[in-house]
């Protein structure tokens, strides 16, 4: 833990957009003092929004307490509370927002609503030192290629249907794999793919800078059900195809914008194969490859705390009566006055 200075100011951030409930505490200088993540792992099937929200409510006080202990500060030392206001699953967002409102009014400190996607990019920049990157944000809920231009993060490419992480998760479930707390579906597919050798032809769908994964998923699941191919080969081919698609669109955006950094973040960013592909195109275009450390790449409270600070320092606060959650809050809707 870092030594506490009397001049230090702190913000606590709450993340609860999907299956993770997380609390992070950051100093205004960007030192992350705590980042406690508690994941909801369904017994079977995907994330049920109500079940996930119930999990968040159950673990909230424990996670909050842990984060204060880890950071070594008391609630009354906080200068602001931030929370992920969207996009995400309604019941989950509302649980986090309710806790954030309660804390802010009890402590009589400002509340700051933060866009989840902006937070991923900002904490990625903080952790890697990237200044103005092309970001590939790939997770269970998002597949976005974005870069900053004239006051906002612009979306250059995105999925036209399901997210890349969702594609891998659903395939893993169809294959009968069981998710464990320390081994998400993506990691299981990655492990199996390492043993795959045969490349099976699968639909490769790139439309301009956008991608589509639903046809790829259906085709792979159909082959799985036919039982002609080894699961390892299917995982390998699914990964190679899906990752090649996002790498191609990232390269297109990189060539188009001529940025000098590529930031890879989101839950799928932990995949070594994807990392090596993105690193390859970054080097090809003379750009620096920045991959975000796992605990800051997955959904986490620290990113909300840090982005809350950036917004708060620009005077952006969210009055309680305007703090309703925004389920479909797009990245490019958010003004980013803290850059330039």
């Amino acid at each position: 833990m870092m030594e506490k200075k009397a001049s230090d100011r702190y913000c606590l951030g709450i993340e609860s957009t999907a299956d993770d409930f997380s609390v992070g505490i950051s100093t205004f200088k960007g030192e992350i003092l705590a980042n406690i993540i508690n994941a909801y792992t369904p017994e079977e099937g995907g994330i049920h929004p109500r079940e996930a929200a119930r999990h968040h409510a159950e673990v909230a006080s424990k996670v909050l307490e842990e984060s204060f202990i880890k950071a070594g500060i008391k609630p009354n030392e906080l200068a602001a509370i931030s929370f992920a206001q969207g996009p995400g699953l309604g019941p989950c967002l509302r649980t986090g927002a309710t806790i954030a409102r309660a804390l802010a009014s009890y402590l009589k400190i400002p509340l700051v609503g933060v866009n989840h996607c902006v937070a991923h990019i900002e904490v990625g920049k903080l952790q890697t030192g990237a200044k103005d990157p092309i970001t590939l944000y790939v997770s269970g809920g998002n597949t976005i290629v974005a870069a900053f231009d004239s006051g906002r993060y612009r979306v250059f490419g995105e999925t036209l249907d399901i997210a890349l992480g969702n594609c891998l998760d659903v395939f893993a479930r169809e294959a009968g794999l069981r998710q464990k707390a320390d081994m998400p579906f993506g990691a299981m597919v990655e492990k199996l793919a390492l043993k795959g050798k045969m490349l099976i032809a699968l639909p490769y769908t790139v439309k301009g800078m956008d991608t589509s994964f639903s046809g790829l998923l259906t085709a792979t699941v159909n082959l799985l059900k036919k039982g002609k191919f080894k699961l390892e080969d299917l995982c390998f081919s699914l990964q190679e195809t899906a990752f090649s698609m996002v790498t191609e669109v990232t390269e297109r955006a990189l060539a188009h914008t001529e940025k000098k950094e590529v930031l890879l973040t989101g839950g799928v960013a932990a995949n070594k194969r994807l990392q090596s592909m993105i690193k390859g195109i970054a080097e090809e275009h003379g750009a620096r490859f920045c991959t975000v450390p796992s605990q800051f790449a997955i959904d986490n409270g620290a990113m909300i705390a840090w982005t809350g600070i950036l917004a708060y320092e620009q005077g952006m606060v969210t009055p309680i009566d305007k703090s309703f959650v925004k389920l479909r809050w797009r990245l490019e809707e958010v003004e980013i006055p803290w850059i330039r």
Binding site: G86, P87, G141, N142, T143, D149, S150, R152, R154, V155, F156, E158, T159, L160, D161, A163, L199, A201, Y204, V206, K207, G208, M209, D210, E240, T241, F243, S244, T247, E248, E251, R252, A253, L254, A255, H256, S276, M277, I278, G280, I281, H285, K326, L327, R328, W329, R330, E332
Partner: protein, 221 residues
């Protein structure tokens, strides 16, 4: 290849473009280089497919009345296309430089050309303003048909126009609305009313399919 003085003018994501002399002619060599990140078998298939289909679509487009560079040679072994060098300005640059009226007329013209492509069963596949060049005679050339397809399906036409809109949003966000409106006005000159209506509905449907779109399921922002 019997070319001289190759000058790399654009290191694209998909291909490198070289300006070269070819039989005393100024040409563009579009070479699809191997992508190391993809498995080589997949990479070869993708590059070969695109090298064959791009000139075919460009030729079809020309027949449909959409200016495209003339193809001189397809060198499949080197996944390279040699084509006419069109001297002019990228629409991407022009849009932010010209007056509002000029911008509108450019976009109407672009819409007309997209309409001609679609009416003839051609999908461009990557409609961005960097893939359009205005020459000195005022003709707009469409380039880069590498992601194109030959189909009359409504879905593909919808995605094609949706991509145009997305390109305007990311690169020309100051006048996305006016530009896209003008594109649709031009499109409507070529495509009949009923079809335009269907395609506009399709675009809305495609937008709703996307992640986190306010219009989805009629939810409010």
């Amino acid at each position: 290849m019997d070319t001289l003085n190759q000058l790399l003018i654009k290191k694209g994501a998909e291909a490198n473009l070289y300006l070269a002399d070819w039989h005393n002619r100024k040409v563009i060599m579009k070479r699809r280089l191997p992508k190391k990140y993809r498995p080589s078998k997949m990479d070869e298939q993708i590059r070969t497919y695109r090298t064959i289909h791009e000139p075919q679509l460009m030729h079809e487009a020309k027949k449909a009345g959409v200016p495209t560079p003339t193809i001189f040679l397809v060198d499949l072994a080197n996944t390279t296309i040699i084509m006419e060098f069109v001297e002019g300005k990228q629409v991407k640059q022009l849009l932010s430089e010209v007056t509002e009226n000029k911008r509108r007329s450019l976009c109407v013209k672009i819409g007309e050309l997209i309409g001609k492509l679609h009416e003839n069963g051609i999908i461009h596949g990557d409609l961005t303003t960097s893939n359009m060049i205005l020459d000195s005679e005022g003709k707009i050339f469409f380039i880069d048909f590498g992601l194109g397809e030959k189909t009359r399906e409504l879905e593909y036409r919808g995605v094609d126009l949706h991509l145009m809109k997305r390109a305007l949003q990311s690169t020309h966000f100051r006048f996305t609305e006016e530009c896209f409106e003008a594109v649709i006005d031009g499109y409507s000159k070529v495509v009949d009313v009923e079809n335009v209506k269907n395609i506009l509905n399709k675009i809305k449907e495609i937008e709703r399919r996307g992640r986190y779109v306010a219009e989805r399921k009629g939810e409010r922002k």
